[in-house]
Structure formats: structure tokens, C-alpha cells
Amino acid sequence: MLELRLAWRNVWRHPRRTWLTVAAMVFCNVLLVFLIALQLGNYQMMIDNTLQAFSGHIQIQKAGYQDEPSLRKSIDNIRDVESSLNDYLINQQSASNANTPSSSPRYHISSRAMGFALLSSEERSYGVQVIGVNPDEEPSVSTLPGLIVEGSFFESGQLENNRKGIVVGKVLANNLRVNIGDSITLLGSGRDGTMAADVLVVVGIFESGMVDMDRSLAQISLSHFQELFSMAEGGHVVVIKANEFSQAEGLYQAALQWLNASTVPDGQDLTVLNWDALHPGLKQAIQADMGSAIFMYAVLVVLVAFSVMNTQLMSVLERTREFGVVMSLGLRAGQLARLVLLETSLMAGLGLVLGVIGGGILVGYLNVNGFSISGMEEMASRFNMSPVMYPQISFISIFSGPLVIFICSLLAAVYPALRLHFLRPIEAMRAV
């Protein structure tokens, strides 16, 4: 207690010096809290928007399909595979949540078939990716059905509508010069090499804002796809979309277990792909960005540490006589060093508290209201982000920066504290 009081008073020996040092810490802390929260928020938005749009968090595919997709690398009886996996996941979930049996599923699941075809309207032809989707399940695993701007997505139950209907992206519709109700001729080749051809009616047009998708995707119903492309009951991917990103890893592990548990019909050559395998660029872009950000943070932290080291060195040097006196009275160098470190912790603690409060208020405000930087829209859309950014509030985003600065400040004070061990009381008392 005595030490604490002593340290506190020493900290305020030179209020201006202390405040300047604390101000450096607070400035850095607020900056780090803001930047880290913004970064984490942006990463999460990038991941969520990319995964929820279409790919989902986890996919089951034939081995090798991801790298070189081909109509022939299909999963036989895909609905059976889907329900087998679904049963396994539900069993697992109810096993782990035995006391809350009525919990709703943590995920949504659906099957798709994918192929390539030439779509022709009266005026134009474009080669596009055609996706066979399950009209009932698709809206729960992808945001595209919710982004229909004209017409509607396939309605469940209306078989005739689904059979001949096609949903296309906005850019594709413009390029083909078609509207709702117009006919499109689909031309492709089926799994067995036969011709896949049909005349379809545009029932819906979606606009995701991701130009690549809007330009090159068309959806038809899974059953019609299977019929057209001679797929029998086959398909290409089973998509799992987790309700929360945090659950994705658990679901991935469960799906792996399912794969190993030989419950798979026919023992097909399947693989389970996690989101980072589905979008290798996404994770690496985050890593690359994180790398350069950490470099910048490190520089800021080092500069603050120098500032603290300077302040503490000054405060030790100017007290040489005082220290000489107390040492000749019997205080040991170690105790004085502890005092100096205690002073530093008080100062750094003040910086930490003020920084966390300041940064927390800033981030809290922006988390609710969001903010945007003009001129960033193009860059944002490249990474599937909306131009309005929302910093993330979490323990890591708020505390990691300030804690690192706190620790580095203490480390910086070690040098001044160690110098005390070289102090000789007699000489020190005579020092000017």
C-alpha cells in the first residue's frame, strides 16, 4: 500500500511529462482499437457476404471437382447423400444437446448440380454456368433467391412453373435482352454426351451486386437439370450453410466424421471442403492484409515504448540523489526497481483504461451507425463488401491493442529499472 502511494505520487511528479506519455498511449490505443475492430469487422463482412451469397460454409463434392469442375464428376443419388449427412448432423446435434432437444438446427443444407450451357435469346447468345437448385431448400442456403429484383424465385409446389422456369442474373438478362416471361433456348451437352436442349421461360432476375455472378449464373430446378443433362439422380455439390460463422468449424468436423463413418451410400469418392478451401483467395487476402497491418501496429507500439522508456529513464535519472539516500537507509536496488515498474504500470494502466474507454466509445458508436469512406466503393465491391463499414466489438478487437501496448510499456521500463542495480549510494547522493 505504501509502495502504491509512493508510486502514484512519483507518477505525478511532472504532470506534463506524465500526461504527454499517457497521451501517446491513449492516442495509440484508440487508434489500435479502431483499426483492429474495423479490420475484424471487415473480414467478417467479407467472409459472410461471400459465403452466404452462394457457396455456403461447407460443401461435399466429388474429389477433384473443386479444382477442375466437370459435369462427369458428379455424386450419384445426391438427395440420399444429402439426407444421410443431414441425419448424421441432426443425431450429433441432439446427442450434444441432450437437455435441450427442441433446439432448432444450426445449419441449412441443400443440393445442387452445376453445368455449362449456351443460353440464347432471340438476339443474343452467351455461355453461362447453369445451376440446378432445389426450389424448396435453396433460399435457406443462398442469398440469391432473396435478391430477386424482377419476377420471383421458383415457388415450391408449382411443378410446371419450376420445370420450365429459369432464373438469371441482372447483367445476363440485360446482355441477353430478356425480361420476365421471355423464352431462352438452353443448349448444352449432357453427362452421357447427348444433346441437352430446351426452351425455358425467364421467371426471375436476381441482382447480387457481384458482377461476375450477375453476369454468368442461371438457375433452373434440380429435377429439370437432372433430366436435361442426363444426370439420373445425380448432382455435384451438397451445400451446408451454418447459421453462425462460429459454428462452421464444428459442422465441418462433424461432416468429416460422417464421411469417415462409412455411412455414405455407395462409398463414393467424396471430399468435405471447408470455406477456406472453397475460397482460398479469401483467407489469403485476409492473411496478406493482416500481415501488413501487424507491421504498422508493431511500429506504433515500438514508438510508444520508446516514449515510455524515455520518460522512465528521465524519472530515474533525476532521482539519483533521492535513490542514493533511500538506498543508504537500507532499501535494496530490487525494491526500487519494483517501484519504478509499479510507476510504469500505473502510467500504462491509466493509458490502457483511457484508451479502452475512448476506443470503445468510438467503436461502439461506429458499430451502430457504420461509416464509409468516399472513393472506397469500388474496392469494397471487389471483396463483396458493402461500402458502409461496421467495426466489430469483441474482447479481442477492444483489448488486444491496448494490452500489447501495456506489456510493451512495462518491457520498456525494464532498462531504466535495471540501471538502479548499478547505483552506488555514496556516489548517487553526491550526484547533481
Partner: protein, 424 residues
């Protein structure tokens, strides 16, 4: 006022003020080393700060320059001319006449690289698969300067003339089509009358691109071959022009725009708004970065100076009492910080040189190559030290550093001598 300024000029020229300055400079230098540990810590902080400013800027610049240059070489060019509707509807109907003689003369005289292309969506089919691609009808000799494609041939050869009968496709596309060099593929596309135009081509070359998705996107045939296939005579989809530097495009862009009033003429910043905004965002963020580092540094600078003045209040009081003018005290404090800043800058710039030199051949970031590709970058970062960035970083530190020092210096020069002398 006039009297004073006249005096000042007078005193500046007089030998006495020169000797004053020398004394003040000597004092400032000695004061700087009075507490050498403190000075060394500050020197370390300043030089690391300056190093970080320039080094990080150099890496960012290098990355973005590389990004832009590689995009420019990927069929974006510096300036492109299209039919006004082509970009929203890249159909063969939206092609345009080849460049007029006037435009040709201008482009050739200005020593700009330029070429024409036919770029239309098409379907490529092997025996096993069909996929959508862009069919590029190119002038092979022009592509040598305009794009990287002719240097990226893995197997076989690039096209040899505009009426070459072969086709060049990407390695990944070849794998997906399950085809190889020497085999035949069929190209299907749409002619201006909405009829399907198709033709078989023999694969004469397979290219490898840095970004794998490109390999699936573009297939190349001779320009004339493509024009014949589509039956559009001499028409082309785009004319691309490249100068020597992506930063100096506006000059010839304006002239071309005048010469081609009926078509859409776009500089690269507008053909690829992502890249254009990238350049602006980068320029902005570099300066923010430099200023932020300086701000963190400035707390330490001001602190050091306040302490340095504080611990010699009595001396300053004594000097004032002996008749030294306040202005000289202020000069001396400012010189002290100037020496500190200059020394720190020297060390910092040396450090930049010492760290950039070993990595001048690039830093390998291929572990995150696909992420870099997503951002549009390559898998190697070459540091690019711009003289202007070095000057800005050094300038910011000196100017803002001296500004931050003005208040403590001013206070020091306005002490009341009697009080200052009595201070314990």
C-alpha cells in the same frame, strides 16, 4: 515594424549575428549530448519512425505499381477505344470500324504502342466438355508489346500472323476441356445476324497466366481469322493504346478523344475503376500513415524537449539575466530539436537503404498468392522507393517536428529571469 525588420536584416548580415548563431549552435549541440541516453532513445525512435514511413510506403507503392502494370498488360492498356455500347453489351454487333488514317498517324508519330482486338463471348468445346470463354482475335506482333500473353506460352507457340489458323488456350482451360496441344476444339459464337458461327481450330499453343482464372477466360486466334469467322469485314471490338508510364496517360488520352469523337475512349482508371480507386486510396492512405506515425513520434519529441528545457530553467534564467535575448534562447532550443531531427532522419534514411537494398529483387509472398491475386497483385512484392515519398516523409518530420517544438521553445524564451533563477 519596418524599423525592426530593417534591423533584423542588418543584424543578420553583421559579423556579430554570425558569431551569435555559431555560439547558439554550439550550445544547442552540447545541450543535445548533455543527457546522451535520452538523445539516443529519441534518435532511435525518430529513425525507426522515418524508416517505417518510407519502408512501408515503398512496399505499398511497389505492390500497387505491380498490380496496375500487370492489369495494364492484361488487356486493359492505358487507353482503350470501344463502341459506346460495347462495355455493357460485349456483343459482335457493338464492334466498330478500324482506326482512321488520322488516328493511325497520330499513334505512330507519338511512339505509342497500340493494337486492335476482336473480343467476343464464345463457347469452346472439346470432345468432352463445353465452356464459356472470351474469343480474342489479336494481331500477334502487336500483342508482343501490349500484353504478356506471347511470353507466357508454356507448350507450343503463340500465333504467328493475323490469319494464323491455330488457337492458343490457357493451361487450366486445356485441363478442364480434357484436351492438349495439337488437338482440335470447336469455337461457337454469334455473328451479327444472330446466327451461330462455328469453326474448328487446332491448338497450337498453351499459355500459363499468373492468375489462374485468366487461363480459363481468354482464348486467342488471329484477328483476321476471327473477322472472317464472324463475317464482319475489317471491324474490331477494341483499340488499345499504351504509353510509357501509367501515370502519364492524360496527354494522349485527350488527343485520342478528340480524334475519335463517336466512340467511347477510356483511360485505364475508368476501364477498371477498382484499379483507379486503388491508386487514389493508396496515395491518401500513405499520407495518413506518415502523419499517424509522426503524431505518435511527436508526443515523445515534445516530451523530451519539455524535459530538456525544464531541467535547465535556472541556466536559462542566468543567461537571460546576463542579457542574452529571448530570441536567441528560442533559436537555441529550436536548433537543438533540429539537430536531433536531422540526425534521426539521416539514420532513418540509412536504415531504409540498408533494408530495401537486400530485398530489391522482391519479397516472395507466394504463400498468400491467391489472396494477392484477389486483390489484383502478384506473388512477389518489389519495393519501390519514390523520391517524392522520401521527401514527404522527411519534410513532414522536420516541419511538423519544428512546429511541435515552437511552444516549449517560446516558453523557454519568455521566462522571467528572476523567477527562473530562483527555481529549485
Amino acid at each position: 515594424m519596418r524599423m525592426e525588420s530593417a534591423n533584423e536584416i542588418d543584424s543578420l548580415q553583421s559579423p556579430r549575428s554570425v558569431s551569435n548563431l555559431r555560439i547558439v549552435a554550439t550550445l544547442a549541440w552540447r545541450y543535445l549530448w548533455r543527457n546522451y541516453r535520452r538523445t539516443l532513445i529519441m534518435l532511435a525512435a525518430i529513425s525507426i519512425g522515418v524508416w517505417a514511413m518510407i519502408f512501408m510506403t515503398a512496399l505499398t507503392r511497389g505492390m500497387v505499381d505491380e498490380m496496375i502494370e500487370s492489369s495494364v498488360k492484361t488487356f486493359i492498356g492505358h487507353v482503350q477505344i470501344h463502341h459506346p455500347q460495347y462495355r455493357s453489351d460485349p456483343s459482335v454487333n457493338n464492334s466498330m470500324a478500324p482506326p482512321s488514317q488520322q488516328l493511325r498517324d497520330y499513334l505512330d508519330q507519338s511512339e505509342l504502342n497500340w493494337g486492335m482486338r476482336l473480343r467476343v463471348p464464345a463457347v469452346i468445346s472439346s470432345e468432352r466438355e463445353s465452356l464459356g470463354v472470351f474469343l480474342m482475335g489479336v494481331e500477334p506482333d502487336k500483342e508482343l508489346q501490349l500484353s504478356k500473353i506471347s511470353n507466357q506460352i508454356n507448350v507450343g507457340r503463340f500465333l504467328e500472323s493475323i490469319d494464323d489458323r491455330g488457337i492458343v488456350i490457357g493451361a487450366k482451360l486445356a485441363r478442364r476441356l480434357d484436351t492438349e496441344l495439337g488437338k482440335r476444339v470447336v469455337i461457337m459464337t454469334q455473328d451479327p445476324d444472330n446466327n451461330i458461327a462455328d469453326k474448328g481450330f487446332r491448338i497450337v499453343g498453351i499459355y500459363h497466366a499468373e492468375i489462374a482464372s485468366q487461363e480459363e477466360q481468354f482464348v486467342f486466334v488471329g484477328l483476321e481469322t476471327a473477322q472472317t469467322l464472324l463475317g464482319i469485314g475489317e471491324k474490331v471490338s477494341e483499340i488499345e493504346v499504351q504509353g510509357s508510364n501509367f501515370r502519364n496517360v492524360d496527354g494522349f488520352y485527350q488527343v485520342i478523344k478528340e480524334l475519335v469523337p463517336n466512340e467511347e475512349v477510356l483511360p485505364w482508371t475508368e476501364s477498371d475503376p477498382y484499379l483507379g480507386s486503388m491508386l487514389d486510396v493508396m496515395d491518401g492512405s500513405i499520407y495518413i500513415y506518415i502523419v499517424v506515425i509522426f503524431l505518435v513520434l511527436s508526443f515523445g519529441l515534445v516530451n523530451t524537449l519539455v524535459m530538456a528545457v525544464f531541467e535547465r530553467v535556472r541556466e536559462i534564467g542566468l543567461m537571460l539575466a546576463l542579457g542574452m535575448r529571448g530570441r536567441l534562447i528560442m533559436q537555441q532550443v529550436l536548433l537543438e530539436i533540429l539537430f536531433l531531427l536531422l540526425l534521426g532522419l539521416c539514420l532513418g534514411n540509412l536504415l531504409v537503404w540498408a533494408t530495401v537494398w537486400p530485398i530489391r529483387d522482391g519479397i516472395d509472398v507466394s504463400v498468400v498468392a491467391e489472396g494477392m491475386a484477389m486483390m489484383g497483385g502478384g506473388s512477389t512484392i518489389y519495393p519501390a522507393v519514390y523520391i517524392s515519398d522520401v521527401l514527404v516523409a522527411n519534410g513532414v518530420v522536420i516541419v511538423l517536428g519544428l512546429l511541435a517544438a515552437i511552444l516549449p521553445a517560446y516558453r523557454a524564451s519568455h521566462y522571467d529571469p528572476v523567477r527562473a533563477l530562483n527555481k529549485t
